[in-house]
């Protein structure tokens, strides 16, 4: 599953911060502990000096053999076991008053009294409060950890949201971009270096794409253009040859067939040129076009063909479908749809044309299956092996629709009709 950068960084930070803070807490804890014991030890050492001094003044003190109120005890030792060095240790001592073990810091050392007898001295002090300090410290650290996480979450949320605003804008610009469309993505103002890099690279990529696209388009255009003249020469030469009455009938017929084949090439060329012209927005002037009236005109042109093909045309014009459109494109659009309906008809031989003020539908009987609407509009996609079919008719329709914002085309199959629905 994909997660957003915000959550991604947060997830990482949560984990690593825990470790970093734990290590830091451990070190801090040791340091503080060290400092605390140092303090305590200093106090104990100070007490030791005072006890020894007191013992010199008042030898009775030497009889303090048990810990009492004064929290120290003195005991005689063998000269051989005498040790004057300070030994510090932490011990748990049972305390009757709250029936529990309490932590104590204990100093063990030795001294000589006035008579030069060796004594050992044990001084202890409770470290309960110091332990509480450490406990508090840990709590604070956990609180700090949680607080830092929440802060990061908030900073991430608001800070990154702000920082990533240009990113969102760049993405939405890109979404609108289409190769070959003259509308280039607008530059998004940003002072984030990464985004301006990204933008620069995208811009370069788009320019490269457009260059390739345009040069290919130009190539098709030029190739189509350049083909026209040789085709004209070939066709006209054939015309002259056919009119030459010396030729035998069979020869003339094969010349006529050659001519027809050349005309197919001419038509293919014309269609390609038309495609690039539509893409180049060379059909500009929009006027109010009445598609319904236009269709009635066009149907007249197809009367004989429909009759010859024995196709039944049913029209149902409830209202005029009127739209701001280029009149030439409208003509091309409608006649290509009608031709398509004629070409791909089947034995049922019905074409229906319907219009109301919001939509315009051309339906025809045909192959009994839904067609792939992704394929039928693509260039050179052919169904069957119809000879005169160059596979560009519907892609011209598609290109026209794509270059006009106010009209959509949808393909639909509703047994037994293949429907092409134009909608405002």
């Amino acid at each position: 599953m994909k997660i957003s950068l915000k959550n991604y960084t947060f997830r990482y930070l949560t984990f690593w911060l825990l470790i970093v803070i734990a290590i830091w807490a451990f070190l801090f804890h040791s340091l503080i502990l060290d400092e605390v014991y140092d303090n305590v030890d200093d106090g104990l050492k100070n007490q030791k000096i005072e006890i020894i001094r007191e013992a010199y003044r008042d030898p009775n003190l030497l009889n303090t053999t048990e810990f009492g109120l004064s929290q120290f005890k003195i005991s005689k030792v063998d000269p051989s076991k005498y040790d004057e060095r300070n030994h510090f240790s932490n011990e748990l001592v049972y305390m009757g008053y709250d029936d529990d073990m309490e932590p104590y810091r204990i100093l063990r050392t030795g001294f000589y009294d006035k008579e030069n007898h060796p004594y050992s001295l044990e001084i202890r002090t409770s470290t309960v409060e110091e332990d509480e300090l450490i406990y508090d410290l840990s709590i604070s650290l956990i609180a700090l950890y949680v607080f830092i996480l929440i802060s990061i979450l908030l900073i991430n949320h608001f800070g990154l949201k702000k920082a990533f605003k240009p990113f969102g804008q760049i993405i939405s610009q890109l979404r609108k971009y289409e190769v070959g469309n003259n509308e280039k993505p607008k530059l998004v103002e940003t002072n984030v270096k990464e985004f301006s890099y990204l933008q620069k690279e995208i811009e370069r990529m788009i320019n490269r794409n457009d260059e390739v696209f345009n040069s290919q388009k130009l190539f098709i255009e030029n190739a189509s253009h350049e083909l026209q003249t040789p085709l004209t020469i070939a066709l006209n030469k054939l015309d002259l040859l056919i009119e030459n009455s010396d030729l035998k009938e069979k020869e003339v017929m094969s010349l006529v067939e050659t001519k027809q084949t050349l005309w197919r090439m001419v038509n293919l060329n014309k269609s390609l040129l038309m495609l690039s012209r539509i893409e180049n927005n060379q059909y500009k002037n929009n006027v109010e076009v009445n598609f319904t009236a236009l269709t009635k005109d066009l149907i007249e042109d197809y009367e004989e063909i429909l009759e010859a093909e024995e196709i039944k045309l049913e029209t149902n014009f409830k209202a005029d479908f009127i739209l701001d459109f280029n009149i030439d494109l409208a003509r091309i659009l409608i006649s290509n749809l009608i031709r398509n309906a004629i070409k791909h008809n089947n034995d049922e031989k019905i074409i229906k044309i319907e219009s109301d003020s919001n939509q315009f539908i051309i339906s025809n009987t045909g192959k009994n299956a839904t067609l792939d609407s992704n394929l039928i509009f693509s260039r050179f996609y052919k169904q069957g092996t119809s000879d005169g079919n160059n596979g560009l008719g519907l892609s011209i329709v598609d290109t026209i629709i794509k270059n006009q914002q106010n009209l959509t085309l949808r393909y639909n199959y509703e047994f037994p009709f293949h429907q092409f629905i134009l909608k405002k």
Partner: protein, 223 residues
């Protein structure tokens, strides 16, 4: 009728000349802008067939030059471009017609006739063959001086036949000329057959001496 063909593609120029000469026209040629300009200044032509892309200049400026000379010559642009803008501009500058390459000779001839018509006195412009007359100005057909009612396509068909009687018209040429480029739709071109049949019937009923004859596998001719 004197015609100037301005076309830099020599092969194409030759075929056009050959065709027009067969149609009993006087044809002169120019391969480039300079030659064309010289000829336009020096001579008068009834019609100029003008290629828009010439090696040393474009047809558009030649058109403008022609206007400056106040010559009443009809101009038909022959262009490989076939773009709306080109067409509109050409017609605005004063061309009479615009024919996209490639074209059928029959179509070219029809266009030339139409273009020439504007320089003729009204009434002079009649096509006649046997007892049929066509008045293109009014789209009127008379057989034995009696008007023959034809629908739009029947008229167009007959007009093409009358332009070149006794010549064979290929079915594809007829289809393209009368119906536009719809031939790709129908492999059998039956629709032309039924139109021709109707036309023949009407002609026969009007006692026309001319008839349309089928030439097997190729097309039809007016005899």
């Amino acid at each position: 009728m004197k015609i100037l063909v301005v076309e830099d593609e020599i092969k194409l120029q030759e075929t056009i000349v050959e065709f027009l000469e067969k149609e009993k026209m006087i044809v002169e040629t120019a391969d480039n802008y300079q030659q064309a300009l010289d000829k336009i200044i020096s001579f008068d032509y009834d019609c100029i067939l003008l290629d828009m892309m010439l090696p040393d200049g474009d047809g558009m400026s030649l058109l403008k030059e022609l206007k400056n000379l106040h010559k009443e010559t009809s101009v038909i642009i022959l262009s490989a471009k076939d773009s709306v803008d080109d067409k509109v501009e050409g017609l605005l500058v004063g061309a009479d017609d615009y024919l996209a390459k490639p074209f059928h000779f029959a179509e070219l001839l029809a266009r030339i006739k139409v273009a020439l018509r504007k320089n003729l006195q009204k009434g002079e412009d009649v096509l006649s063959y046997k007892n049929i007359q066509i008045f293109p100005e009014d789209r009127l057909v008379k057989v034995n001086n009696i008007e023959l009612k034809l629908n739009r396509k029947e008229y167009d068909l007959l007009y093409y036949f009358m332009l070149r009687p006794e010549r064979v018209f290929q079915k594809t040429t007829l289809a393209e000329s009368v119906w536009g480029d719809h031939i790709e739709l129908s492999d059998n071109l039956d629709f032309i057959y039924s139109q021709i049949k109707n036309l023949r019937k009407k002609m026969k009923e009007a006692n026309s001496e001319a008839d349309l004859q089928a030439v097997y596998g190729i097309g039809y001719k007016l005899i």
